[in-house]
Structure formats: C-alpha cells, structure tokens
C-alpha cells in the first residue's frame, strides 16, 4: 500500500527529473518517421535509466514494482510536462512483457525481457485482412514440420495493422495450427524474430500521411518450436494476456494530453478573431467540459482498478468517451482553422494533438477503429453491462 505522502514524494521526484531531462522541441524533431523513431529511442533509454519506463513490471527489474497508484502519478506527470508518448516501445513494454511474464517459459523470459530494456522493440501480428473485430477468425497458417533436423512451424499468410512493425525486432504472432473444432481452438502463439527469412514488411500509408502501421507477409517462414508460448492450439488464451496488458493508463494519459492541447483551440479562436463569437464560444465551452469529463472518467476508471472494483465494460466506456472527444476536438480545430487547414502542412509523427488539424482529425479515426472498434465496445457495453442478449451466432444467406 502506498500512502499519499509517498505518492507526492514520487510526484516531485518525477517532476525534477522532467525539468532537467524532458526533451524540448520533439515535435519539430519528428517531422520524418526516421527522426521520430530516433527521438523515441533516445527518450525511452533516458526513462529506462531514470527508472520510469517500466513501472508496471515486477520489482526485480530496475524501475519496476510500482503500484498502479504510482504508475498513475508517473503518467500524469509525463502528460502534464508534454513529453513524447512512448509509442515505439509500447508493444514491447506492455504486450510483449505481459505475454512473457504471464505465459512464457523461464528460458523465454530470461532471453527477451532484458532485451526489451535495451531497446529491442516488438510488434503484434494479430489482425488479418479477414480477421479484425472477429480476431479468432484468423487464417495465417502454420504447419509443424521437421526441417534440417529441427522441429519448426512453417508459416504462410498475412498480418495487417501491426503497429510500427517496420521498426520491430520481434513479433507476437498468432497463427492457425488447426481448423478443427471452434475457431479459437486451433490458434497457436509464437514469438518471431522479424529478420527470419521469408518475412516481409510493408508500411501502410494512412490518410493523413503517417505510417504508424504495417502489413507483414509470411512466405514459408520457419519458426522454431521452442518459440511457442503455451501449448499448441492454446494461443487464444495467451492472446488474452497480451490484450489485457494495458491497464488504462494510456487513456488517462491521452485525456490529460488533450486537456493540455485545448490551448491550441483557444489559439485558433484568437488568431481568427472569434473571441466574441458566441456560437464558437459555446462550442468551445462544450468541448472543454467534455474533455474534463473524459479526464474524470479515466481517473475514476484507474481509481476503481486500484481499489479492485472495476466492472466489465468500464474500459469500453473510457475508450469510446475519449475517442469521441478526440474527434470533436480535432473537428472543431478544422472548422475554426477554415481554409488554412485545407493546405497541406507538415505532420508530426507520433502525436494526436499536433495542431495540424486535418491530420489530427484524420488520425482520430485510429481511436474509433483500432484496439477494438467503437462498435465492438458498444456491444460490450450493451451485452456485458446492460445485459442485453447477443445476436444469434449463425445466419443463412
């Protein structure tokens, strides 16, 4: 149990660190993907050294063993100081960590965990063109064979929407090893080196010019059997550990960042001389309260988790509330900016509230679509919280 005095001590410790070390001008230094990646690597290394990069890891790792309340303090301060979000290392420190920590063998843990702290990055090979919201319908095929005297899975198929796979060293991969029985039963979980022969990565050009995601193609890729996590055919359960890894800190952090970025809307109002436009002031006022409410619900969500009283569906509410507010925020920016926003301006990689309003508006769709679409979250809210009946499983054309 951490008491308030300890939390406040941690808060001032983080603040002093940030005052001395926080990167300045990182937005300007993130105009190309390469520069963005370098900025991210530097900042991650600094945070690892300071002990703030992996507060959620167990205490045997330096900087680990922090309570959720302490993690919240660290993330609040990072957001308030407007530091870069840790995007490049997100999958490795959350998804890969949770998978390894909860489901992997001791050998696998010993091999990969330290490498994450040294900056090795991971991507997630989950979604496929035919398996998005319905992830268990995935088809990427793995056949177990003996090649050159070694047992391997030979993988063929395609993954899509893999965040920053083009920069990743390793991949958390879901493959189909059987098509018998229910679709969840034939899924196996593998850890793959991205440099394995037969793997090719192709970035996805998003509508705002960013390339945050990539496709991964597998052409007879041989993955040693020792790289499997859990038993063959039991990958779906392991995948749940991966997907549950994020503890709600991201949305709290993003909420605080959006609140900080409301100043950008205020700037637009002044630049365009709308200070006395009552209609615009109303819309701005409504947005301010909406963003405050998103911060309040994200806070409450984390407090409920800390106190062990979280309910199913709570996370879906926070996600939908944040993503809708982000849409409203960026849309108001586009509207107030007028024609100025229709001329292409440089984008900033890795930030959601950049002040390039068209880019921010388009980017906001990532939050209503990725990570469980808005519609999937609505199903969870309706079926799990409001206990409404599910739709029948099968249908006939």
């Amino acid at each position: 149990m951490t008491d308030n005095a300890d939390l406040e001590a941690l808060r001032s410790e983080v603040r002093s660190f940030l005052e001395a070390e926080k990167p300045h001008g990182w937005r300007d230094a993130s105009r190309t993907q390469e520069d963005f990646v370098n900025t991210q690597r530097d900042w991650f290394a600094k945070l690892v050294k300071a002990g703030y990069a992996i507060p959620h890891w167990p205490k045997e790792y330096p900087g680990g063993g922090r309570s959720l309340a302490e993690q919240k303090v660290i993330y609040e301060e990072l957001a308030k100081a407007d530091c870069p979000r840790l995007l490049l290392s997100f999958v490795s420190t959350y998804h890969a960590f949770a998978t390894l920590h909860e489901c992997a063998s001791e050998e696998q843990k010993a091999k990969y965990m330290p490498r994450i702290l040294e900056g090795e990055t991971w991507c997630q090979g989950f979604s496929e063109p035919g398996a998005g919201s319905d992830l268990a319908a995935l088809k990427c095929k793995a056949v177990r064979e003996v090649r050159d005297g070694k047992e391997v899975y030979v993988v063929n198929g395609q993954k899509v929407w893999s965040t920053m796979a083009q920069f990743a060293d390793m991949c958390l991969l879901l493959v189909r090893t059987s098509s018998e029985g229910v679709k969840q039963a034939g899924i196996t979980y593998l850890l793959m080196d991205m440099k394995t022969p037969g793997v090719s990565v192709s970035p996805i050009h998003q509508i705002q010019g960013d390339e945050e995601f990539a496709e991964i193609f597998f052409d007879n890729v041989e993955i040693p059997v020792e790289q499997r996590v859990g038993e063959e055919g039991e990958g779906w359960a392991v995948a749940q550990a991966t997907l549950a890894s994020e503890r709600g800190l991201t949305l709290m952090e993003l909420g605080y960042r959006m609140r900080g970025a409301l100043g950008r809307v205020a700037e637009l109002i002044r630049t365009h001389g709308h200070q006395e436009d009552r209609g615009i002031l109303r819309d701005f006022g409504a947005l301010v309260s909406e963003v405050d409410a998103v911060c309040a619900i994200a806070d409450q969500f984390l407090d409920n988790r800390i106190n062990g009283v979280e309910r199913i569906g709570d996370a879906s509410i926070v996600k939908n509330a944040y993503s809708r507010a982000l849409r409203a925020y960026s849309k108001l920016g586009v509207r107030l900016g007028g024609m100025d926003e229709q001329y292409i301006a440089p984008i900033t990689f890795g930030d959601l509230n950049t002040g390039n309003w068209m880019a921010d508006f388009m980017n906001s769709y990532a939050w209503t679509i990725a990570g469980g679409s808005e519609e999937v979250q609505r199903n969870i809210i309706a079926e799990r919280m409001l206990e409404m009946p599910r739709e029948p499983k099968s249908w006939v054309l």
Binding site: S289, V294, I317, R378, N379, M385, L386
Partner: protein, 338 residues
Amino acid sequence: MIELNELTAAAQKAFPADNLSPARDASWELVAEMGWLMIRLPEDDGGLGLDREASTAIHYEMGRVLATTPLIPAQLGLQAVIESQTLADRADWLERLSAGEYAPLHMLPAKVDIAADGTVSGTIGGVFDGDMAVAVVAKLPIGYALIPTDADGVELVERPIWDLSRRMFDLVLTGYKPDPALMLSDADGATAMHDALGPEAHLALAADCLGGASAALDMTVEYMKMRKQFERPIAMFQALKHRAADMKTKIVVAEALLWSRARDEQATRTQIAGAKALASDVFQFVTEEMIQLHGGIGLTEEHPCHLFMKRAMLNLQLCGSLDSLNETVGREALAAMA
C-alpha cells in the same frame, strides 16, 4: 458522519424507483423527516452539516424518481439565509426553514424595476411550488431579499408548464416595498451571494438530470429486453443496442465529471456550471432516445417516457440555459488559456 452509501440507501428506501413522481405534500413531509431540508445547514445551526457530495447524492436520487417535492429550491433558499450577513432574524428563519417552512430560491431570472420611491415592480421567474411558499428568496437590483408571499403588492401566479412533475409560479410584484429587515444582502453583497449559490444550484440540477437519465436508461433497457419483434427481443438488434450503449456511456461520463466536481473543493464556479451544462445535455439526449426506443408506447400519456423528457427539457432552462452556460465556460477557458 453519515456515509454516502447509507444516505443513498435511505433515499432509495424512502423514494423507491417504482413510484415515479410521488405525491408532493407527503414527499415534502418525508423529506423534512429525513432531515434533508437541513442537509447543508452547519451542525452549529442545528443542521446535518453535510458536504456537497452528500447533497448531490440526495438530488441524484430525487431525480431518479422525478421528485415532485421542491427540495432543490428549498435547499438553495436556506443556503441564502445561511450565507446572509444582513438578515435580522437569521436564527429564527433558520429554525423555521429547517422545521419545514418553505422559502425557495427562484430558478429563472427576475425582471423587475425599482421606482423612485424604492418600491419594486416586475416578475420573479421560476418559483417552484409557490402555493406552499411562505416567502421567496429573490435577487433584486438592491440585493437578495426574502419576500413574504402574503405581503402587500405580492402575488403568486401559477404558470402551467409541460413538465408534469413540478409546479412553477411567477412572483409578481406591483409596487412592493422591500422590508429592510428581510434583506439577505445589499447590492454589493449580491455578487458574493450569487457566486455562493450558483455552484450549489448547478450541482443539484446536474445531479437531478443524471439521476433522471439513469432511471430513463434503466426503463429503456428493461423495455428493450421485453419487447419482441421479428421473433426476438429488440435489445438483440445491434442498431438498437448500440444506442443504449451510447446512452450509458454519456451518462457514466457526465456522472464522473459531476462527482469529481462535487468532491473537489477547489472546483471553480465555471467548472461546476460546465458539469450542469453537460448533465442537462445528456439528460435531454437520453430522454429523446428513450421515447424513440420505446416506439409508439413512448408517445402515449399512459407511459412515463414523456415525464422524463419534459423534466429534461425544463432542466435545460433552469439556472442558466445550455447555451449560456457553455458560452461562459468557453469564455473563461479562452481567457485562462491566453
């Protein structure tokens, strides 16, 4: 110290969810018996001395049952007396109001003129349940005043409203001569009084809105699970269940803001006004959806959908409209972000 959940449980027992808009006079007696009239009266003055969170919890429960009894204007009227530096018989008034006499704060603007001889003429809007009021707490250009309803030049005129769960009156003044002994503040003190009462009114109304919205959602969900079309409950259709999910999301998010403001002693007047704006907007949204999702029955007088919708529409206007509150929040945020 009374725990919040005990307070909520007591309220739900006294005002059960299946009895919407319970009779006003019996409710008023019950409310007085529960001590809620003195909920914010300091213990030294004989009250319960509870905080904003506690009164917010009570107003939330009263909103859930579409309460007919005017607890919000009563609490605000009493708070004006508590805040008053000028009222001659302050202790006497506190005792009378705690014991169940009713002196409401008006919830809509006053439009009055002061004549050269100091008499006041005009209309004080938004006096709830004026028929049971002994006096009205009114904001006059010369300051806040207690205006006895039986004084010369004072008339209560009922204004029938669409909202069937409440009764509203205008206090019409014709050459009314304010009693100096009944002044709650002078003109200079009126701003401080207004600033003290505003957040209380906004928290109470926001709670009323979200209690109502949450009851409206519960009824809608229950109906959607029971009502069958095309051989299945309509709650099974994604097109409809997604709307219920959005209702839930909006309510929960607005509630998070309400509670965070109610607990935060540093919250500004404008931040609390923003919580009322959001809550009233959500209440309206939820009741519109409630009617649509109930289909034809939602349009009938026999079904309570319309009671929720009408209350939501009135709440939008009380103590600042949605537009004016949003404008205030926007203006202040803009200034703060200079």
